[in-house]
Assembly symmetry: D2
């Protein structure tokens, strides 16, 4: 597949869904010049939604984080995260009064669990606690040496719904290196306890659906008028393809130029376009 | 969990999503007296949608099949099938001109592939054919002794998107016996070729989303006003839970009364209600 | 890794373990000139054992099969098959009096089950039969359209040991094409019933151990004096490496020259030598 | 299955293979009165071998550890560990001169790697190091927060053989709680890098084979004269069954009395006997 200029394909659409990590920012911060593309989108009266498998922060914090890094113009209500999906599920499905155990930062817990549910870090769960659910939120904020085992033992004894709010396996931490993400830690535990966890995040249709509904409150937008842009075939492109919208794979994140054709051929996940980044 | 009377919970909702096999019908035909429940739903001006992982027939044929068996009053446009999802994907993503190889009955192919795509049973694919995609449609309509191997060899050589239009593993064929369904055959091949197939069907949110959008064209219905009814925890109940609607598990299909509590506890998939069937 | 001449490395060893399919023969029959290499081995007073994951025939039949194809000089007692391992297990572990259900040819059953155990093809198992065990023997000899489902239902209801006598996933049937082998069919069923089957065959140490013990009855041979030759990294080479003997991968079967370096690097299974075949 | 008295079955055999953890000792130390059973074995001139999936200590240290806890009479050369198997493999397969990266304690590394191979804890591996292999040795001795990621990145970039010297998933740390063992950590990494690691430990036949060969240097002992005793179906009993010896499952470790029948039925792994422990 030939590389396309992002600007040239962008103009064919009325709205764009953007992945965050690997598209707008990377381990070094904002990807240079993405703010120009954002400005272009605004100037052309196009609609925008950020779809991110990040469950560690609230949309307000994610928006503030963009701004702090020099990307103004993304509103909190233009951000849909897997954390939001998990949050809605917990709000709806877990009866008030019990507590919810979590692996992650206190900040991520505050967002996901809100005021109605009492969040307890796994390290602080006591035997007598009435734990209603378990949530995997983030790979930071706890001691892997002790808390993964605690989680394992909690789930061996209590039959409670277990939510994985970020299904990513790994994420890049430098040019060459990656780090295990929440999804991997959850999978490790899931395999041992042999129970079915509930996963939120691309490629599942939910976030696409939320973004679509939200956008259609602003203007009437058809699926054919939306472009999904992401750096990962298995989450962004597969999810966009299944949702029925056009997809563009960028090479500014997880997928490297020297491997892209091989990956597309071997996975069978085919984007409509491949672009260097959203900048060119 | 206590068993609830289906009628008593049904009245709390404005709309109901129903699984087909194990809820409305089983291997012997229509489950006795379900037509009375359907009538009750109509009399109460409730809305209805059938969500089925059946890709072997068109909605028109599925509706006709219900009628033939004594269940009048389900319109074709009240039926959402995984086959429809696969059909839309193929229509949108596969360029016209090539052919699409399939494992299934000619009838299922006619529906999924429509007129624009030339469907070719795997057994008839020739080397020189320009095969654009592969679709697993049904466990019938081909010779397992020869055609599974043909499919395997086709996918080893051609890097084409492969769609699994019915993700069920097994389905009951008698009181005690089951049969391997399309999902199992696809999984067998998927593991050997080590590529990522594209699966359509519950528990994925897509079908729930389609049903929700369709219903909201008729009346304004909120998620809290919908009840999902199914016989399988991993598809119907998990799908309904993730979509954010209440769920009722019936014991008239895949899930047996003597195993239900164990299955709920071990899977962590918890329905709001358990009922013997939709009849009581 | 550089290609080595098989003759040149062969002379460094006192004994050689040979895989059969892909080393001595292929889908077309005997690989041309292997009989010369066999003669060379005999002339040099080297010891030989054939280690094959073929459970469809007895060693006598396998030896006769070699002879029929022009390879004289391999005695039945120089052949160790996964079928033999399965046979010994059944003989030892299953009490006489019951019957053993199998998927495979009658010939393979006659060998594996001997006279003491009453073998019944899955298609003929009746409800009242006292089935003691289930054995997957071969991918031929039964109707895939009906008998895989019968096996599935048998194993869903009866808690009996299930033996897989040939763990190969696929085997080549022509230059380019493969066929699903017993191992794949067993895996399909194993995943659905969610029970642990008992597998016999390389890379498991058992067959290497039997060959080693058998050879040492003829002469004192140390592990360092044995070379394992095979065409498949995951069975022959991994098995030989784990058993502690040198290994040579040949490119006359499953592993193609254009893919070998990639496969070795990606699998981490490293043979001591790579040769075109045992002929050069 | 009925419970049998261990003493009564023990006398039927000439030799016994014993698992260590869950049979001789547990998280609290030596299981009370096992030294009496050991004395009984000695008094009856029976032969003994301890087969353990423990790779964290040398046989000398394991023997000393028994003695320190009150169990005299187990010689170092009566202990066969998965660590020994890994050690032999590394000694044989890794060329001198390079270094071997490991996750585990320095003590476990000293044993496995000996003097010829330079062992480097993953945390200390530098880019310029010539790392020849990676070994997972123990779940202790490193910081899970940092070193699992380091291992992941090392294996993503270098194509080196990776050895898992202890394949246990979990081990009990108290009456009710378990801890993740080396096998789980290795599996986590193995799945992400998508390469094949080399595993040593029961149920693989290797350790049984070593014990059998070693014993037969002392006296002529046939397989029918050996009893394998263990607390885990998937490693001890399956391994013993496949090796062709009788097996006894004890309920003093991993397998609880209230679950044993269910586990045997659902796994299909059937011991010849079930005993409370080796004490009764």
């Amino acid at each position: 597949m030939q590389l396309a200029s992002f600007r040239s394909i962008l103009t064919r659409y009325k709205a764009v869904f953007l992945d965050s990590y690997g598209v707008l920012k990377n381990h070094m911060g904002l990807i240079p010049k993405v703010e120009e593309t954002l400005q272009f989108i605004r100037d052309n009266n196009q609609y925008l939604c950020v779809l991110t498998n990040d469950a560690s922060r609230s949309p307000d914090q994610l928006a503030a984080n963009f701004q702090k890094n020099g990307l103004t113009g993304i509103e909190a209500d233009e951000i849909i995260s897997s954390g939001m999906m998990a949050r809605q599920f917990l709000e709806y499905k877990i009866r008030k009064g019990g507590s919810v155990a979590y692996l992650g930062t206190e900040n991520s817990a505050q967002y996901i669990l809100q005021a109605k549910l009492r969040g307890v870090p796994v390290s602080q769960v006591k035997e007598e606690d009435d734990v209603q659910a378990m949530v995997f939120l983030d790979d930071e904020g706890f001691d892997w040496n002790t808390d993964i085992n605690k989680t394992l033992n909690l789930l061996r004894t209590k039959n409670i719904p277990t939510i994985v709010a970020n299904t990513d396996s790994i994420y890049p931490v430098s040019q060459n290196d990656v780090s295990l993400a929440t999804g991997s830690i959850a999978k490790l535990v899931e395999n041992i306890v042999n129970k079915r966890f509930i996963h939120f995040g691309k490629p599942d249709s939910q976030m696409f659906m939320h973004a679509f509904e939200r956008m259609n409150k602003l203007a009437s937008i058809d699926r054919s008028e939306i472009l999904m842009v992401g750096d990962t075939l298995h989450t962004d492109i597969l999810g966009g393809n299944k949702f029925g919208i056009d997809t563009a794979l960028v090479l500014s994140g997880n997928t490297r130029k020297d491997k892209v054709n091989l990956l597309i051929r071997s996975s069978g996940i085919i984007p409509n376009y491949i672009c260097e980044s959203i900048v060119n």
